[in-house]
Amino acid sequence: MRAQSDYSKLVLVVDDDPDIRETVREILEEQGYRVDDAENGREALGRLRSGSTPDLILLDLSMPVMSGPEFCSERQKDPKLSRIPVVVVTATGSPEQKVAKLPINGLLRKPVGLDELLGTVERFCGCGQGIN
């Protein structure tokens, strides 16, 4: 359980590619965010259910074991989890179709630019240092 003094925003990065997880973690931590990561939908659910409540989830779509869309439908079953904003980050050709029916809050296309990534995270989390 997190201490009350932890005011930094927490971002959960869900992607099966370890280099993407590592790179995004570095970039976000540099901006003052805390970062958790998972390599597929099932691991991500595990994190969420074990008490971690991120301020934003960055979600890849195609992952083995449990894909992005599958994660979304599982998440919907829990009202507490379904409140957490989700931004899909995907390399799929026509992501609009794939995400049309998903309850998500934003869409980023890979390869995503630094500004775009940070801008999106800021939009949902405020700036990395959290509220004073």
Partner: protein, 399 residues
């Protein structure tokens, strides 16, 4: 009934009707007419004139010119004795005139009738040609439609391949872009504080890894293209299969460790052969990549042995397995038998099959869903005499 009768006679207008048949018919008809006139009267008066003329017309319509003229000659000759007691007895001028007129008209009718006959024959031939043309047109339409279906399917699987390839390339590009931009930004802010050399070294390592991944991917694409164009060249060398496998496994040590796939090798037997080592390595790598992807976290067993004068290599994983109904399909280009979230372009096994075939060998799979998979490659001792595989030309399916 009239049509039936007509149809029977129409046989005489076909090629099959021999000359003899036509003559027999014509003369027969003429004789029948003559007999009829004998019953009625014996002179060439009105009715008889018409009866015999009708016979001549039928002869020409069905028998043709020659038979009709023969029939004409027969009837003229027949009437001569009937007209007056034969030429010797002296011919009465009126009767002679009537006979002459008859002969003239009959000849004319013969010509006209045989022209009609020729026209009918030609018409029939033209009709048959038209029928054949329509049939062949329909057949080629059918073939064309089938070809269009095949083409569409080939295009569809190529489109799917390109879309998957693009997806696979964008993944390493993502980290690459972020890392580069990050470094640029740090440099722009303060070039002296871009980070410790160690940190920068780590960043560059990530960048390098992405470049390597993309290079491998692009090489995959090139392999596909080379195989398709039939340009795959083999340079045979003396190779020991077990040694080759050990080399490849060593090279893949890191990815194998990341995938948590422990490799168990059974290379007690030595299998020597004359093969192209580079292409054979690619085959082993492809099989191992598949085993790592679909059997992640589980051990991989590799066996090398000699079977009936051939060398056999088996790669077994304990992964998600393949349904028997998909066993043949997975070796086809752009075919995948796994859920979409497992990346991959569906060409690995196709490359394995084509390369193994170019080495003169074969590949097979034993597997069931949920029970892992065993891929076995069987190679002849020497692939030196195998001709290169055909390319795109000549086999539409490979387009």
């Amino acid at each position: 009934m009239q049509a039936e009768f007509e149809r029977q006679l129409a046989w005489l207008t076909k090629d099959e009707a021999s000359t003899a048949a036509r003559y027999v018919f014509s003369l027969g008809v003429a004789l029948a007419a003559l007999l009829l006139t004998l019953l009625l009267s014996r002179t060439l008066d009105g009715i008889n004139f018409l009866i015999v003329l009708t016979a001549i017309m039928m002869s020409s319509l069905y028998g043709g010119l020659g038979p009709a003229l023969a029939a004409t000659g027969l009837t003229v000759a027949a009437f001569c004795p009937i007209v007056g007691e034969g030429l010797l007895a002296g011919v009465q001028p009126a009767a002679a005139y009537r006979l002459g007129l008859f002969g003239l008209v009959a000849t004319l009718v013969s010509f006209i009738g045989s022209s009609v006959r020729s026209a009918r024959i030609q018409l029939e031939a033209a009709r048959r040609e038209a029928e054949e043309a329509v049939e062949s047109l329909l057949a080629s339409e059918g073939a064309r439609a089938a070809l269009v279906v095949e083409l569409r399917e080939a295009l569809r699987s190529r489109d799917e391949f390109l879309s998957i390839a693009s997806h696979e390339l964008k993944t390493p590009l993502t980290s690459l872009e972020l890392q580069v931009e990050s470094l640029e930004r740090a440099l722009a802010r303060d070039s002296s504080k871009v980070g410790s050399p160690e940190k920068v070294g780590q960043n560059l390592a990530v960048i390098e890894r992405q470049v390597v991944r993309m290079t491998e991917l692009i090489n995959y694409l090139l392999d596909v293209s080379v195989i398709l164009s039939g340009r795959m060249k083999m340079q045979a060398e003396r190779v020991e299969l077990g040694t080759l496998v050990t080399d490849v496994v060593e090279r893949l040590r890191e990815p194998l460790a990341t995938a948590k796939c422990e490799v168990r090798m059974d290379t007690k037997e030595q299998a020597f052969g004359l093969w192209d080592p580079v292409h054979l390595e690619a085959v082993i790598m492809n099989l191992l990549f598949n085993a790592m992807k679909f059997g992640r976290g589980n051990p991989i067993s590799i066996t090398v042995r000699n079977v009936l004068g051939r060398a056999e290599l088996s790669v077994r994983d304990e992964g998600i397995g393949i349904a028997p109904s998909d066993h043949a399909r997975i070796f086809e280009r752009f075919e995948r038998a796994v859920p979409e979230q497992y990346g991959g372009m569906g060409v690995g096994l196709w490359i394995v099959r084509r390369t193994v075939e170019a080495l003169g060998g074969s590949v097979r799979v034993e597997s069931e869903l949920g029970k892992g998979a065993t891929f076995t490659v069987s190679l002849p001792r020497s692939s030196a005499s195998t001709p290169p595989p055909p390319g795109v030309l000549g086999r539409f399916n490979e387009v």
